[in-house]
């Protein structure tokens, strides 16, 4: 019997790939968004598997609860397009598929062919994170030793610490960016005309007579 991680990984992988395939192949844009939900949820599962439970929870809150709602919201607002199904041309499909297959193959080839650096902190047994012995910690480089963290219990607190120390500048930039986005999105989506057109287009009565 394989261990839990294997089973969960393949389960999540199947969900994520099914979701991705659905996104790719679905014609209906709302269904595309629902397939995306599957991928996002599975990605959240991966984050939990990778020991980044905080990122996983953030993924659920922001991505699934926020961004996806926003996307579906956008779909509903723009769904009254007469051309509901956007049929891509065959040549487009062929080109896209070709490029992507080549790209995927190249990426996989590169990934599998590379010997990645493995820091001693990341060495762990099958069941979880190996706690380093004090001797191993002493042996680490000083820069790494200061930032030594566990990936579980204290991980969230350390993420916070890093955000406000090592990553302070990006953090501030992102907060500024969010503010800009807030204002920009509100500006872009503002009604172009005063939202009280006092004209009757006659649609109502006509509909009534029919």
């Amino acid at each position: 019997m394989g261990n839990m991680e294997t089973v969960l990984f393949y389960g999540f992988a199947a969900t994520a790939l099914a979701g991705a395939a659905g996104v790719l192949l679905s014609r209906n844009i709302v269904r595309t968004a629902v397939w995306l939900l599957a991928t996002l949820a599975a990605a959240g599962g991966f984050y939990f598997l990778l020991g980044a439970s905080f990122v996983g929870a953030v993924q659920l809150i922001i991505y699934a609860g926020g961004t996806l709602v926003l996307i579906i919201f956008g779909v509903m607002l723009t769904a009254r397009d007469p051309r509901v199904s956007f049929e891509p041309r065959r040549i487009e499909i062929a080109a896209g598929a070709l490029v992507c297959l080549v790209l995927a193959g190249a990426l996989v080839w590169v990934f599998l062919g590379t010997r990645w650096y493995q820091s001693p902190i990341a060495q762990r047994d099958g069941q979880g994170i190996a706690r380093l012995t004090s001797a191993q910690i002493e042996a680490l480089a000083p820069g790494v030793k200061d930032r030594l963290t566990d990936l579980d219990a204290e991980g969230t607190a350390n993420i916070g610490r890093q955000l406000l120390s090592t990553y302070l500048v990006p953090f501030e930039v992102v907060s500024l960016l969010l503010l800009a986005v807030l204002i920009g999105a509100a500006y872009l989506a503002r009604p172009r005309v005063p939202a009280s057109p006092k004209i009757g287009s006659g649609a109502g009565p006509k509909e009534g007579r029919a």
């Binding site: 009254r80 009604p191 005309v193 057109p197 006092k198 004209i199 287009s201 109502g204 009565p205 009534g208």
Partner: protein, 403 residues
């Protein structure tokens, strides 16, 4: 097909001014060529919880914003006026019950008074007092329904039960008087159908003792609720001049601050011998003529009606409860138009007699019908949630609109 990317240009639209409609001088509105809103047509009704029956309102919406609300009526049309031309005068009384079925006593009254005027009959004093009593009690009952359903429209469920709880006691009184709880046919030509039973007066007094303190409870529960005020104040404002121009009447007119009540303006029955005030909207929570004002005028009218009933019960004389009216009534040829103040406004009957036992022409002016006509103007540029607030405050009864 226009080329893609070109803005839609709507040709100039002709909008007749509903009041000063002048065919030679139609107002042409040029639409902005940049105007592109996402419009959606929604059918509100005829099966919808807050259209109070089978009213159908076509909503042209832009998201939550209502651009236009067009009422479509006729789902409850029963040819009442045509029937009136084919039945004898007495026989039409039950049909009037079905006009505004929440205020059947008042409908009976308006019709009976019209026929009485046509035929030159005068009801005895006792009958007049009884008529005032039942009419005002029915006004309370009708306003209680409005209070309850308006709460329901605003999402508060409890006022509905409270309103109906008290209304039930009024219906008990009516049942004791005439045997029916909804369609009374109690007020007939020449008086009332039967005299009040023993103990009725005392019991009506007890009801008033019970009912009058309840109005404070209603105000605490709904009228002065902050959310309710936010939902209704400044919503669906009808200025006084528009209200008059559209021929509104009743609490809808008085809600706009117009001090007009037929019971004071042309006092019939014994209203001139009873003390009461005309309640008008004062804009206490917002502008004069908003939905809250229209709602609150009804609450105040319940107080006044209770006052009237108390006085009338005290003054109720003994004597005949009905004048001598021949069974086959043949009014002299002529025509009459008579209006009374119903809970929803002025109910008028126009009757033409050719001297035969059936009317030559019978026409009714339903207050709900006229009041509903302003919906198109008021329910514009409001939000979807305001539609029940406006519709409920106009308080139409479809039986009367469609007749």
């Amino acid at each position: 097909m226009r080329e893609h990317g070109q803005p839609i240009t709507t040709p100039g639209l002709v909008i007749p001014d509903p009041v000063n409609y002048d065919i030679g001088r139609e107002k042409v509105v040029e639409t902005d060529s940049d105007l592109r809103t996402e419009e959606m047509l929604i059918n509100m009704g005829p099966q919808h919880p807050s259209t109070h029956g089978v009213l159908r309102v076509m909503l042209r919406t832009d998201g939550e914003l209502i651009l236009e609300a067009t009422p479509h009526i006729g789902y409850l049309h029963r040819c009442a006026e045509k029937i009136g031309e084919n039945v004898q005068y007495h026989q039409f009384v039950p049909y009037t019950d079905r006009f505004d079925y929440l205020a059947a006593m008042n409908n009976n009254l308006a019709y009976a008074m019209a026929v009485e005027k046509l035929a030159g009959i005068e009801a005895p004093k006792r009958a007049q007092y009884i008529r005032v009593i039942v009419a005002e009690l029915n006004r309370i009952a009708s306003h209680l329904v409005m209070f309850g359903t308006y709460g329901l429209d605003m999402g508060a469920f409890t006022p509905f039960i409270y309103g109906f709880r008290e209304r039930e006691l009024i219906l008990d009184l009516f049942e004791a008087a005439c045997g029916a709880r909804l369609t009374y046919s109690y007020v007939t030509i020449g008086g009332v159908r039967e005299d009040l039973p023993e103990g009725w007066v005392r019991k009506a007094g007890e009801f008033l003792d019970y009912f009058q303190p309840k109005i404070k409870e209603y105000n605490d529960l709904l009228s002065y609720n902050q959310i309710f005020i936010k939902r209704t104040a400044n919503v669906g404002v009808i200025p006084a001049d528009r209200a008059i121009a559209y021929g509104l009447s009743g609490p809808v007119l008085r809600g706009s601050g117009v001090k007009w009540d037929l019971r004071k303006a042309t006092p019939d029955l014994v209203y001139d011998q009873l003390e009461f005030d005309i309640c008008v909207g004062e804009g206490r929570m917002g502008q004069v003529g908003d939905s809250w004002d229209r709602y609150f005028v009804r609450i105040l009218e319940m107080v006044q009606s209770a006052r009237i009933v108390r006085q009338a019960l005290a003054k109720l004389p003994s004597g005949d409860y009905r004048a001598k009216v021949p069974r086959l009534l043949k009014p002299p040829p002529g025509e009459v138009y008579y209006e009374t103040e119903n809970p929803r406004g002025q109910l008028g009957f126009y009757i033409v007699s050719d001297g035969s036992p059936v009317p030559y022409r019978l026409k009714a002016r339903g207050p709900s019908f006229c009041n509903l006509s302003i919906l198109n103007e008021v329910a514009k540029d409001c939000l979807l949630g305001d539609i029940p607030a406006i519709l409920g405050s106009i308080d139409v009864v479809m039986g009367e609109v469609d007749r």
